[in-house]
């Protein structure tokens, strides 16, 4: 199970969420283990049925106003009852201050309270996005990721088949490189997002030449940091008897992190311009997304023609006409 300590989260995201720590530093050593958030209003009112204590608890103006309306004794008891649970941390939005008793109890019971200057809604959404990304399933695969006319294409294939050279050719044709050799894939909202495994920039190894910096060499327009992966193209050596797709009526799929994306097996042979074919694959994908399928269109036309001619022949035979 993935987790992040409140301390690491605070250090890392202090700026993004304008956070400050209200309680003593010793309280901060708890772990965040859930990607979800909770508004603990009902818990503070004494209702603990289905209380999602393991989530980060976000307090907005509603909760704070409610707590302020309670008498000292009730307030103390209610907060104590909530803090008995193993809560990762409380975050108060809008820069609101918490009742003194709450701060006291939090220090006593080792529950960290953070304060954010962001509005509750914004804090809630931003936090949710950050946590979803942090807890998202991910894996790293040996591939090259390129953006072709906005279509994210994952190039795979054995070492030395020419993925990098192909990406280089595509970049020269005005397409964009996301990352070469190792792609970190994260699943967010049922989409696959690919990026580099590090932040060093867009470096690439070209056999016989060495390392090059694609962004420096071709300009910033030739690269991008991350991209949704729409389809995979597996480059493979040309084999004479291999069953390659001829019409494109049937689609093959591959599953990455549980998400199904189309895969195309592309035979590569010397002197063949793979880059043009990859661009064509991307454009055909866009056409299909817009509802136009060339393979279907052509074969439907052919079937209509065949039916029409068969009918004509039939009526000719009935009239005892000569053979067509």
């Amino acid at each position: 199970m993935k987790k992040i300590s409140v301390k690491d989260f605070f250090e890392e995201k202090k700026k993004d969420f304008s956070l400050s720590l209200i309680t003593q530093p010793k309280t901060i050593n708890r772990d965040i283990t859930s990607e979800f958030l909770n508004r603990p209003g009902l818990a503070f009112a004494g209702y603990f049925e289905r209380f999602s204590y393991q989530r980060i608890q976000v307090l907005g103006e509603t909760e704070i106003t409610y707590l302020q309306s309670l008498s000292d004794e009730v307030l103390y008891n209610n907060i104590k009852e909530v803090f008995v649970y193993d809560i990762p941390c409380l975050i108060v939005a809008k820069g609101l201050s918490v009742p003194a008793q709450m701060e006291f109890l939090a220090n006593e019971m080792n529950i960290p309270i953070l304060c954010s200057r962001l509005a509750t809604d914004k804090l809630f959404n931003d936090l949710r996005r950050y946590l979803a990304e942090f807890f998202a399933p991910s894996k790293t695969i040996h591939a090259t990721l390129v953006d072709i006319y906005g279509v994210g294409i994952l190039l795979t294939g054995k070492s030395g088949i020419g993925k990098s050279e192909c990406a280089l050719d595509l970049v020269e044709r005005g397409q964009r490189l996301v990352t070469d050799d190792a792609v970190r894939i994260t699943m967010i909202d049922d989409l696959l997002i690919g990026r580099s495994t590090n932040d060093f920039g867009h470096f690439m190894e070209v056999r016989g030449v060495g390392l090059i910096d694609v962004a420096k060499m071709f300009g910033i327009q030739a690269v991008r940091r991350n991209k949704r992966i729409d389809l995979q193209i597996e480059l493979m050596p040309w084999k004479d008897n291999m069953d390659y797709e001829r019409l494109g009526l049937s689609e093959n799929f591959v599953e990455i992190l549980g998400v199904r994306i189309p895969i195309i097996y592309l035979p590569v042979s010397p002197g063949k311009n793979v880059s043009v074919i990859i661009e064509v694959v991307a454009l055909n994908y866009i056409l299909k997304r817009y509802g136009y399928d060339a393979a279907k269109e052509y074969t439907n036309k052919l079937q209509d023609e065949l039916n029409k001619k068969a009918k004509l022949r039939n009526s000719a035979v009935v009239k005892n006409d000569i053979e067509m």
Binding site: Y298, T299, L302, L306, N307, K309
Partner: protein
């Protein structure tokens, strides 16, 4: 060179699926393979070529194979037509 006349016997005619089957079968062989219909003659190893013929149910075509394994090629293709490509 071998030539063999065939009448299309499946109701739907030589549409995309049969065309694919023919081309896939033919490309396994080394011989040249052509299909003729009336005055049109196309390369039987090219999918677009085969579909261009638009050979409907009841029409007749001619298979033409030329090369070292021509007999086997014609035999397999003829069997495909005889099986009506698994259709009606």
């Amino acid at each position: 060179m071998i030539r063999k006349k065939i009448v299309i016997s499946n109701k739907l005619g030589m549409h995309a699926r049969p065309a694919t089957l023919i081309v896939k079968a033919a490309t396994k062989y080394r011989s040249d393979f052509k299909i003729a219909k009336k005055d049109i003659e196309i390369n039987g190893k090219s999918i677009m070529g085969v579909m261009t013929l638009a050979a409907e149910y009841g029409s007749s075509i001619e298979l033409i194979a030329d090369g070292v394994d021509e007999e086997y090629l014609i035999k397999e293709i003829a069997e495909l037509f005889a099986s009506k490509f698994g259709e009606e």
